[in-house]
Amino acid sequence: MRNLFIFIYLLLSFTVNALEWPVEKVILTATFAESRQDHFHTGIDLGGGEQTIFPISPGEVVFAYEKRSDYSSLPVGLGNFVVLQHQESIRSIYCHLKDDTLKRSLTEFSLQDPLGTIGDSGHSHGKHLHLSLIDSEMKTIINPFLVLPPLTDRQAPVIRRLFMKGEEDLVELREGDELKTGEVHILAEIYDLREDVSFIWKLAPYKILLYVNGKEVNQMSFNFLQAEDGRLVLSDSREGYGELYVSDWIYKLGSLDLTPGETHMQVFSRDFAGNVSQREYFFQVKNSN
């Protein structure tokens, strides 16, 4: 209900001025809520070299930082960055800007005013723009895909492997396996792929669903992150980083009490463009003793 409210609120907020991508050539290199070793990726990354960055919507500067000139009481992994306030309480954050390109002479930016140039300042493996959207009133970090123009994407995510983890062992699930009764944790290796490169460049999917015997067991949607009890959680499933990720592309889909008989398990994964992939397994569960 809360998510629906946030989504409607976002739609209304941006009805007057449609949002634009902040760079001319959109090359997506990382998606929202991906694993970053021990925390969620709180935005999206855009590559494409030293492109000029423009605001996603007209806005006013709230905060800016440049390592060469500004004081900071903390180490800034975002590198040179600027925060714009848009309609209502939506703020966009543009990070890792190239040194000396952040335009400080303006406080009000129109869609045509350049903010700076893509760089690799701060904690960055290469030149890219990290774009975050936050709602300072709703206290949420928003998946920018929810409000930016859609991207063309024809390739469905990959559901590569499923694992079951019992009390001790971790086994890869295969069609026709015979398993013993008891509680198991379902893990899955899932990723989406960039379409514009010939090598494997993994991205996070948008949704993951687990069905067992036709019933939905778990659903994860990477819409919003919000702070709850001092940690960031996905706003739909209330899962924090440690509850969702085993490692970078291995997700915890939930736990299951295996009972004797045939079990039908389905995993669905969807990207933001709506491409869906599915994997299903039939396996026999037998009594442990």
Binding site: R36, L74, P75
Partner: protein, 353 residues
Amino acid sequence: MQKKINPGRLLLITFIVLISYFFLFPYPLGRELHLKPVWAKELRAGNFNGSSENEPITWLKMGDFFGYFNLSGDFYYVGRVFFDVALSNTGFVNFAKITENLVFIDNKGRFLFSFQSYGYPVLPDKGEGIFTVNTDLCGIRELNREGELLWQKEFATPITALSIKEDYLLIGLLEGRFELLDREGLLEFEFIPTGSRIETILGVAQMQRRLAVISGIDPQQLSIFEKKDQSFAPVFSRNLDTDFRREVMIDFSDDGRYLILEGPNEVSVLDMNNRSSYSLPTSGRLKNISAANEILITLSEVGGSTIFQVSGLPNQQLYSELISTQDVFLRQIDEHLFLAIDGHLVRIDVLEG
């Protein structure tokens, strides 16, 4: 019967009252301060054997150099910064742009321990704490010396200002709220300053039972909170005529008497005893402020040069010097000033009388 007052006695009482008045309400006569250069040492990377074991050791950072020295000017360690360095009086973490394993080295250049971290380290000046800030600024955690997580806190908004003292962490957030956490990471106090067109936190400072926060745009505000009866409450609020859209320098003097905050071409000094406000003009972009022993030192950048300014608190301008480089380090310990300029570290004492 009316008792006759002895004129001598009356004179004595008047004298005592007058003397008491001057003791109780002394008139500020100004201070006669002078600067005395004590030593100058060349900075070069390496391990050194500082000789005076009993003297406190402190750190310096200038450009690519950082290191440790004592009041006598003995160096213990001087190194080059990788990407950035977190420094405390007891040791440092010199870290790369992409972090995974961090190494804590003591102030004499000896390896102490290493720990895994994907965030950037922060070491409070005093104490043994090791903190890391998430590289997206949306979280902070404290680790022990084995690298184990003691606690962590994540936010749905970047941290814009941070003050870590022995017992508390004061954290300012982009969304316009600030939190005071205890050393267990538990929330002691939080507040959302209101009344500005755009809410955000631009600067935080803490001293004992007092918090100071600069917040908002249009208008920008200074708010002060004090702990009374186990809880913090706002005790002072004032609109500022500034329009900063970046972190602002704000700090208490070492004794907590004065609050020093950055202004446009000035430093504002607020006397916490009577809330009187003073202004000390500066030129250019303020780079560093330090207030100890009733002396305020500021460094500000003009073009490629630095203006070094010494003032007696609250508002007595004493000395100003243009230094023809923008890479200047300043550290103040009591009446001793340490300036690193052009590859040299200089000690200057501020003497009274």
